[in-house]
């Protein structure tokens, strides 16, 4: 059961601002302001306007924490307050499963620049390193921060699976609650990839779009002229709670995770085959776990990263898994609005699904003015669609060949 939600996303901080962005179909992609992106092929991104002090972080926290850590801390505080769980939980049965693809790489790069004299020295000068330098290279330090904020004493871990990290972290959390290891899991994901090194990585792969002259229209999933990812950043934290535990304390159950599965394509670290076989298998397995049939699915939150290979792969996978029903099910990509925040996005998309169910509105695929003829599903172009949904599917693909799927359902107090 999902009983709390916290979101830091481009377009506005907090769950409310996040939903306003999505339901308005507003894009938050723009020219990069966080550093001088002039030498890069892709110079646009979806940035979070983030002032640590304004978001309640102490100067010490702002100093200690990388941007991804700061996002996570703000999101976990919102989620804890939202769930009202703080005083009622047995901390030994409270855990953390946090997703991140690239960890504290913002500060890591800054620290590298400091110890290497701006890249001049191979034998870097250790005397310029500080005690926090080391946590910036170990991704688990982000889980530590979240666990401290929630005062956990149960199982705490980071799940890293590239761009499906967020989905897989929440999936792991659900497994721990289901098998009785924990009563409550603080879960979700964070990433802050808008840094020179990560931009350079995506430039080198030509994975990001060169559409620098149209920042607001930069990410165009399922469009005939889409040509790459627009990077984003952010975090989402969810409180996942065992049903009886939530019911006993009278928690407001926002939605339920009904099923989850992950698979590997065992094909290529960055490439996808157009048949979508492994993603389809993840979807099938998640539906089977949820005991949900394809005809029950009322919305698909797509991976929709904005590349041709993804659009074809994902469209095939959804048809393969849902059969003829695929044509009747609305499917949209919120990356068109808030970009692709790597490991964080899977959790942000789960938050979008929870809000879709709660609000009875399906967020659109922005910028979709002309659909690729090879992509022949209902991608909810341009404007949000008021529609009640009780059962939704969210899917993701990632570097490493990871394919994940999760089924969420409306809170049903009659159940169990």
């Amino acid at each position: 059961m999902i009983t709390g939600l916290g979101v830091v996303a481009p377009g506005g901080i907090g769950t409310k601002a996040f939903w306003e962005t999505l339901s308005a179909g507003r894009t938050a992609t723009r020219p990069i302001t966080l550093f001088d992106a002039e030498p890069f092929r892709c110079r646009i991104a979806a940035e979070v306007d983030f002032d640590p002090a304004r978001e309640g972080l102490s100067p010490k926290e702002a100093r200690r924490l990388d941007r991804a850590g700061q996002f996570a801390l703000v999101a976990v505080r919102e989620a804890l307050a939202d769930s009202g769980i703080a005083d009622t939980v047995d901390r030994t049965r409270l855990g953390v499963s946090l997703g991140s693809a690239i960890g504290s790489s913002t500060r890591m790069e800054e620290e590298y620049v400091a110890v290497s004299d701006r890249g001049r020295d191979w034998l870097v000068d250790h005397r310029f390193a500080v005690p926090y330098s080391y946590p910036y290279i170990t991704v688990s330090s982000l889980a530590t921060e979240v666990a401290w904020a929630a005062r956990c004493e149960g199982p705490v871990v980071v799940v890293s699976a590239g761009c499906t990290s967020g989905l897989d972290a929440v999936g792991h959390a659900v497994q721990l609650v289901e098998d009785g290891t924990a009563d409550v899991m603080i879960t979700g994901a964070t990433d802050a990839p808008l840094t020179p090194i990560t931009l350079a990585c995506f430039d080198a792969l030509k994975a990001t779009t060169p559409r620098n002259d149209d920042p607001a229209g930069g990410c165009r999933p399922f469009h005939r002229d889409r040509n790459g990812i627009v990077l984003g950043e952010g975090a989402t934290v969810l409180v996942v709670e065992e049903y009886e535990h939530a019911r006993r304390r009278g928690a407001d159950i926002r939605a339920e995770v009904l099923g989850y599965a992950n698979r590997a394509n065992a094909y290529h670290m960055t490439g996808l085959r157009p048949d979508g076989l492994e993603l389809a298998e993840a979807i099938r397995a998640a539906l089977a776990k949820a005991e949900v049939s394809p005809s029950d699915v009322q919305y698909v939150n797509a991976h929709g990263s904005g590349t041709r290979q993804n659009d074809l792969h994902e469209t095939s996978a959804v048809k393969r898994a849902l059969g003829a029903h695929a044509y009747d099910i609305p499917m949209s990509s919120i990356k068109s609005m808030i970009g692709h925040s790597l490991g964080a996005i899977g959790a942000i998309e789960i938050a979008a699904c929870v809000l879709t169910i709660r609000n009875g509105v399906i967020p659109p695929t922005a910028n979709l003015t002309e659909q690729d003829p090879q992509c022949d599903l209902d991608y909810v172009p341009l404007v949000a669609r008021p529609q009640r949904t009780d059962t939704v599917l969210t899917i993701g693909s990632g570097f490493g060949g990871f394919q994940s799927a999760m089924v969420l359902g409306a809170a049903d107090l009659e159940a169990a």
Partner: protein, 426 residues
Amino acid sequence: MTGAVVTGLGVASPNGVGTEEYWRATLEGRSGIRPIRLFDAAPYPVRLAGEVDFDAEAYIPGKFRAQTDQMTQLAMAATVMAFADAGLDPAGMPAFEMGVTVANSSGGIMFGQRELQQLWSQGPTYVSAYMSVAWFYASTAGQLSIRHGMKGPALVLASEQAGGLDAVGHARRQIRCGTPLMVTGGSDASLAPVGLAFQIATGMLSTRRDPSRAYLPFDRDANGYLPGNGGAILVLEDADAAEARGVPGVYGEIAGYAATFDPPLDDGEPGPDTAAYDPPRGSGRSPRLRRAAELALADAGVAPGDIDVVFADAWGLPALDWEEARAITELFGPRGVPVTAPKTMTGRLYAGAALDLVTALLSIRDGVIPPTLNVTEPAPGTDLDLVLREPRRRTVRHALVLARGLGGFNSAIVVSAPTTHARSST
């Protein structure tokens, strides 16, 4: 509940590449701690570490070598060994029935530093297209799934030095959820200039120059630890599925697993000078490590008296050694169980600490507990039955393996002797 049994082992360790090479060195007390050769360590106060003498070409095709850091290559080599050991050709197995959970802590940092240098000294167009897939934490899970055609659940777990055990615990869970075979374990290769520099800044490494007096866990002369590169991979199978395929032998069962977390010292946050987040001596706070061990024992359905050996986390800093010794003596009584730390011969391998599970399984197979190297005078008040100098003969039916990670992570696994198809010594 169906058991998860270990049917294949692979090791790439500073004191031996290959399971039997590693095991022989470990029983003979041969250390892999040496002066660092991967780069010139002369400018640094720490010049000793556990490096792996490693011919990547012998295990890994060129196209995989070009796009991977050593952290991934160590796991790839160990996986090749583990499949061979398990008598399995993954190409002949149903792809969706094999998954991967491996641990990593610091990413592909040698590869990463090289590309950061390219970027900052020359510009973005000089950054390798392989940087993104070689450096990121999930690299090893992706490459292993591709190399061996494994399409089941795949991901990486990170909990600093506890990750190796957490990955195996996660793999066991996937087996219970219906994936019959999991490749699991962990690897890390933190030895690059920037990786070493950042580790030095924690203040937790030994700066001694004499390899025999540097990493001395539980010793009165404990003064920090030495890092090592390395990896260990286990093939974990559903016991019935292993039986059905005619498995050549079983090393043991992952019988119990648990993880706990240490909250910060007080309600506040740690100060900027707090390198160790774990409770210091005298803080009055009970270590959650003991609870992890208790939960793992309960999960395995065994009592403390059933445990024949404890493979200690053995951090090598007095306060942390004391906390662990206290957890062990509270659970087993003073000198109540043999305790050993063969990692004194490899350095601390971070996620590669899954190696302790391999060592425990080999102890079960051969009825012998390997020694803790270099420790001569246990610290006053530790009161442990440390296995020192010589291996100790003892029938091992259940072994407890402990691991901790910086930041508050505690994990414990109980490995138990197989009930059937036991491996015999080679």
